[in-house]
């Protein structure tokens, strides 16, 4: 592109040139009106002139083009998730959830051990026989099976989609 020294600056422009772009009615214009008029006169349109072509030719390969911004965003997300999990665990520890869980688990274990000590294998056998006898009544109907299958499918799809969106898998 040919580049030349500008022949006249704004201050040194002669009055004729200034008058071309000057409107005498502006004496009473407010700042906003004056600026609107000034920028309207100086509106510039820029033709493409091969710019798009140059941009497209200079594009890098799209593999591994995750920007620094999105990398940071992903790291922030993972960090926030970890922080959330740590916060929940911390709160549970603070309110004694785990000690209560431990006590409960010990109680259940003690109960099972005492039950196992006095276990009656004959009654178990009778109960198993009864259960086998009533098995056809306990099985779900075809409609129930389809409903459960659809529910599982929807939940799985939603979870997978969420994971893909979050971690851009």
């Amino acid at each position: 592109v040919a580049r030349r020294t500008l022949p006249a600056t704004f201050e040194t422009m002669d009055t004729m040139d200034k008058n071309k772009i000057k409107n005498p009615d502006r004496a009473l214009l407010s700042d906003d009106e004056l600026l609107d008029a000034f920028f309207n006169e100086h509106k510039e349109t820029i033709a493409d002139n091969g710019f798009c072509e140059r941009v497209l030719q200079g594009l890098p390969e799209r593999e591994n083009v995750e920007s620094v911004e999105s990398q940071q965003l992903r790291r922030w997300r993972i960090g926030l998730n970890l922080f959330g999990v740590a916060a929940v665990v911390g709160l549970l520890v603070y309110f004694g959830f785990f000690s209560q869980l431990w006590d409960f688990q010990q109680g259940v274990a003690a109960h099972f051990i005492s039950q196992a000590m006095n276990f009656d294998f004959n009654s178990l056998l009778v109960k198993l026989m009864l259960m086998l006898h009533r098995l056809p009544e306990l099985l779900p109907s075809p409609t129930q099976i389809v409903t459960i299958a659809v529910a599982i499918l929807v939940l799985t799809t939603a979870t997978v989609k969420q994971l893909v969106d979050t971690y851009k898998l």
Binding site: F10, E11, N23, R26, L35, F39, I46, V55, S70
Partner: protein, 196 residues
């Protein structure tokens, strides 16, 4: 370009990496981005076009992070502004021969380009060159942030909310920059014969 077309093109680029779709986006927004950068660089068309190219490359690389929270053009102008700031910082840290020769130590406000694109033929084109020079000279009297805010509002027609997104400041700060910038610019124009 309608918003729907734009969203569909963005989706194509993100999903398939379509350069054709990205080309259409570049074509639709090149003017706003290049004009914004030309005003920021006080009329240096070559530098502005280099920065615009860098802007579109960054947009291409980061398009998957575009969340539609702002308009696509606002997002592009935000990238363009960052690209300009990075370049400006680099230039101030390592001044070029031209900047040293012109005595620009990088601490003062921008200097108007001594060289602007001047078409060789036709008085009309020369007039337009002078008009552009006036515009850049007037804008160069403002501080960097004031100038950016005034350009975005008066040249690019962005709202205060969009300007806040582009510049990364809150709306009240933008309003005060705009108020001060417009007042200074109007007073400069009046002092230079633009008020009759």
């Amino acid at each position: 370009m309608t918003r729907l077309t734009e969203i569909s093109l963005i989706a194509q680029v993100v999903a398939t990496g379509s350069e054709r779709a990205f080309g259409q986006l570049v074509q639709a927004h090149q003017e706003a981005v290049r004009r914004f950068l030309r005003r920021l660089t006080t009329g240096d068309a070559m530098r502005a076009d280099d920065l615009a190219q860098e802007t579109f490359i960054r947009a291409w690389q980061g398009l998957s992070s575009f969340r539609q929270l702002s308009g696509f053009e606002t997002w592009l102008l935000r990238i363009a502004y960052r690209v300009f700031l990075d370049d400006d910082r680099r230039e101030k840290a390592h001044p070029t021969y031209d900047a040293v020769a012109s005595g620009d130590n990088g601490e003062k406000g921008p200097t108007i380009n001594k060289f602007i694109d001047m078409p060789a033929e036709g008085m009309g084109e020369t007039d337009r060159g002078l008009l552009r020079h006036d515009l850049d000279q007037a804008l160069a009297t403002l501080g960097e942030t004031e100038r950016t805010c005034v350009i975005l509002q008066c040249v690019e027609g962005q709202s205060i909310k969009e300007i806040a997104t582009i510049v990364g400041m809150n709306e009240n700060t933008i309003k005060s920059h705009l108020l001060r910038g417009k007042k200074n610019l109007a007073s400069y124009l009046r002092n230079n014969g633009y008020n009759g």
